[in-house]
Amino acid sequence: NGHTGAVWCVDVDWDTKHVLTGSADNTCRLWDCQTGRQLALLKTSSAVRTCGFDFSGNIIMFSTDKQMGYQCYLNYFDLRDPQQIEENQPYVSVPCSESKITSAVWGPLGEFVIAGHENGEINQFSAKSGEVLRKVKEHTKQINDIQTSVDLTMVITASKDNTAKLFDSTSLEHIKTFKTERPVNSAAISPIMDHVRCTVAVGGGVNIVFAVFFHAAYEEEFGRVKGHFGPINCVAFHPDGKSYSSGGEDGYVRIHYFDPHYFEFEFEG
């Protein structure tokens, strides 16, 4: 129990001390992971769409939706300063007037947040000042999901424009594009990331849906997995890279283990 509306996002800090959740009940809440006790409640004017702990676990960010006259904001709180929490005063609050944030992740060292917007833009917002450090517009439609590589050096974006793209986290250099024939709802990078093996999983679709796997360097699709009865909303690799899970509109979470062939096969190259 806790939120009184749909929970849109959840994150846990690096040593699983705290859990951060954002919800459509216009609050962002901090919890103690072990006991489940609510530690802080931050009220907002609209639904909290994304949230996350930075690399150190000391700074949290969350973004609110553009709703009912309220703008989309990206807020930063420093957990080491109890006053900010008590007075619900973020030390930086960035308004996004043009296009609302639809997904966001922290950069590798807690210096900035990488945010994906409704219009396909990707912006780096400084965690110190809130200013835009870098921006790119490679996607033509809404960014549905952003996930980081396990070492945080790369991010993969999933977009409604039927592609997923790989970017360098720091420079936002566009490295790879993975094309499908349907809008991509979610994308993830395999943690087993040597230069040969990096695979990318995307899920999406409207009627018949697949989790699609790409060879990261060649940008070529090498496999599809059927199974969900409705669109796949999110995909994630297990940290050991030996399995992946997908959650769908049909209400199922599926966990698939890769067979030995997946680890062995090589493209001619």
Binding site: D15, L109, T153, M154, I175, M193, D240, E268
Partner: protein, 681 residues
């Protein structure tokens, strides 16, 4: 002059008016040309006006009561070429003489009128002859010495058959995508389509190829355009406002355009027949409705075209565009007709009339001789299906036999190549979904039954007078039959509502070679050689998954081509072969020798392709590896920062902090059981 004026002023004495006249010996050194150039330019020339006059002969001779109407018609036709400033209708004995004079504002407009209206058929008895008035003078005064006429500049479109010279015999196809914004022409290669030409907004709705593949027709608000040659230059344009439908004559000499906008009682413009090479409008026709396009059906050699109206069959001949024998055929109750694709024979049918049974008639053109008449009884409906070479005609007859309520279907097979055209009947027990003749062969396929129990039957029309059922497959998911244009192979497809089920069949032994699926496929198109099949999902029928897939004739999937908002793919037709039967026989005999050469070529190109692919992959790999190397270097450099952020805890490797792991043993209560030990004693 200035000096002169100054001088005058100087000599001026008070009280006296200065003289502004030129001195007596002044000579004007400015010409009229300089002073009045613009005015002189418009000085009427002696020959002016006459060059802009045309004479029109074979104009109907009318009395005063119809003169106004005649003038309106003439005006309508001739004001297309320019502004008519003057008209003269000479009369004699109360009627117009039959020739008139029209004047335009420029000689250029008059020339246009001559070019386009000369030969225009106003009606059965009047074909205009138009000439420039001054030409009469010119022709009267032809010098006795022969002067070689000046050469017209040659408009070179290149080799219009250029695509046939592709050394790898790739066929072309047109693709409309981005919901009609872009049209592209591709060459069909096994690996992937090769782009030949792509243009934005090349057409406003869709495209059509001419029957021999020479021209690509595009549609525009003002009319259609024909493109061709290696670079797809614009070869010809036909102005027909609001054109919706077109049809080509099989010989590619004529194109027929239809527009619902342009029709008027005096000047039929709904359907226009054009000469493709000259761009001339040959004749215009009325059109009540375009529901069964093409309204005009062409004979296979382009010599005749015909259309059916109430109780009438009108047959016209080319190039005159006049009615054959100057009158239409009265056929009371005629329901449908079609030309044999191999001979100038028309088949038509009329339904029952009181006590005269329904009948199908085969009529030879131009003699109008009835070759065969077949009476049919209790007919509800008939459909005519010609085999591609005109060897057979199948009439699908729906009948309600006497005393029954239901409808049964027969196929009446006319053997066109046999004396007196014998007819054999095949009775079908179930309702028919689709029927198709094998091109170049003597088999036909029938889909019959009712969903979900649909069956396909293959029949062979044998020489000994029998029609044999070769094979039947039941429980098919199909609503359409697509034969290969060369015969023998076919694809059964369940399009649209049947979710794109596909079956590839070899009818030489009636085996199903492959069963596959292209989810939500809306179209199936064979290439003209019968080697490839394209299945596609058009944006016009389904808004997602728009793509076209290329298969071999055996049903092996070669490519999946996703194109944003893909709408339509059309293969470019090939003209008939130039080889004689003898030459074809010789080539078939040596096929083994040729196939060895082709196989080697294929292997080479495959390995070249793999090599290209391998090289490409290697480069991508190398680039990616380099990127990762640099990224990892930076990652290593940032290690101290990471340690700092996490209070000295090293989290770079998953299992790095084994020391931090605690092992806890927990005991928890499962069950309690009290067992009385009892009296020990």
């Amino acid at each position: 002059m200035r000096d002169t004026v100054m001088e005058d002023e100087v000599e001026f004495e008070e009280g006296e008016e200065p003289s502004f006249s030129d001195p007596e010996d002044f000579e004007d050194d400015i010409s009229d040309q300089e002073l009045l150039e613009d005015v002189l330019r418009e000085r009427p020339q002696e020959a002016d006006g006459i060059d802009s006059v045309i004479v029109v002969d074979n104009v109907p001779q009318v009395g005063p009561e119809r003169l106004e109407k005649l003038k309106n018609v003439i005006h309508k036709i001739f004001s297309k070429f320019g502004k008519i400033t003057n008209e003269f209708y000479p009369e004699a004995d109360g009627k117009t003489k039959g020739y008139i004079f029209l004047e335009y504002t420029s000689p250029g407009q008059a020339a246009e009128a001559v070019k386009n209206a000369d030969g225009y058929k106003l009606d059965k008895q009047h074909t205009f002859r138009v000439n420039i008035f001054t030409d009469f003078d010119k022709y009267m005064n032809i010098s006795d010495e022969w002067e070689t006429p000046e050469k017209q500049p040659f408009r070179d479109f290149g080799n219009l058959r250029h695509w046939l010279e592709d050394p790898d015999c790739r066929d072309q196809y047109s693709v409309i995508f981005e919901s009609g914004e872009r049209t592209g022409i591709f060459s069909n290669d096994v690996k992937e389509p090769i782009l030949v030409e792509e243009r934005p907004r090349w057409t406003e709705t869709y495209v059509r190829w001419s029957p021999k593949g020479t021209y690509l027709a595009t549609f525009h608000q003002r009319g259609i355009a024909l493109w061709g040659g290696e670079k797809f230059k614009q070869i010809q344009r036909f102005s027909h406002q609001g054109v919706q439908l077109i049809d080509f004559s099989p010989c590619e000499r004529y194109v027929v355009t239809f527009s619902p906008l342009m029709d008027t009682k005096e000047d039929p413009q709904a359907i226009i027949i054009w000469d493709i090479l000259t761009g001339q409008k040959k004749r215009g026709f009325h059109c009540e409705s375009s529901t069964h396009w093409p309204i005009f059906k062409w004979s296979h050699d382009g010599k005749f075209f015909a259309r059916m109206t109430q109780d009438t069959l009108s047959i016209y001949e080319t190039p005159s565009m006049g009615l054959l024998d100057k009158k239409s055929l009265k056929i009371s109750g005629i329901k449908d007709f079609s030309w044999s694709p191999g001979d100038n024979i028309i088949a038509f049918w009329v339904p029952e009339d009181k006590d005269i049974p329904a009948r199908v008639t085969l009529m030879q053109m131009p003699s109008r001789q009835e070759i065969r008449v077949r009476n049919l009884f209790n007919v509800v409906d008939c459909k005519l299906h010609w085999q591609k070479n005109g060897d057979y005609l199948c009439v699908k007859v729906d009948r309600t036999p006497k005393g029954t309520q239901g409808v049964v279907t027969n196929f009446e097979i006319f053997r066109m190549r046999e004396k007196q055209v014998p007819v054999d009947v095949v009775e079908m027990k179930e309702s028919i979904i689709a029927f198709a003749w094998e091109p170049n062969g003597s088999k036909f396929a029938v889909l019959h039954g009712e969903s979900p129990r649909i069956n396909v039957s293959f029949y062979h029309v044998k020489n000994n007078g029998k029609i044999e059922l070769i094979k039947m497959f039941d429980k098919q998911q199909a609503n359409s039959i697509f034969w290969s244009p060369q015969g023998q192979f076919l694809v059964l497809a369940g399009l649209r509502s049947m979710n794109g089920a596909l079956a590839f069949v070899d009818t030489s032994d009636c085996t199903i070679m492959n069963i596959a699926e292209h989810y939500m496929a809306s179209d199936v198109e064979w290439d003209p050689t019968g080697r490839y099949v394209v299945t596609s999902v058009s944006w016009w029928s389904h808004k997602v998954d728009n793509a076209f897939w290329v298969w071999t004739f055996q049903g092996r999937l070669l490519q999946k081509n996703i194109k944003d908002r893909f709408c339509q793919l059309l293969w470019r037709p090939r003209p008939p072969t130039l080889l004689s039967q003898e030459q074809i026989k010789t080539i078939k005999k040596d096929l083994k020798k040729y196939s060895k050469i082709f196989e080697q070529k294929d292997r080479l190109s495959q390995s070249k392709a793999s090599k290209e692919l391998v090289d490409k992959r290697r480069t991508m790999q190398e680039d990616y590896r380099k990127y990762r190397e640099d990224a990892l270097k930076m990652y290593q450099e940032q290690r101290p920062l990471r340690l700092q952020l996490r209070g000295g805890v090293d989290t770079d490797d998953l299992d790095s902090n084994v020391d931090d792991w605690e092992e806890e043993t927990i005991e928890f209560f499962i069950n309690e059981e009290i067992i009385p030990i009892g009296d020990l004693a």
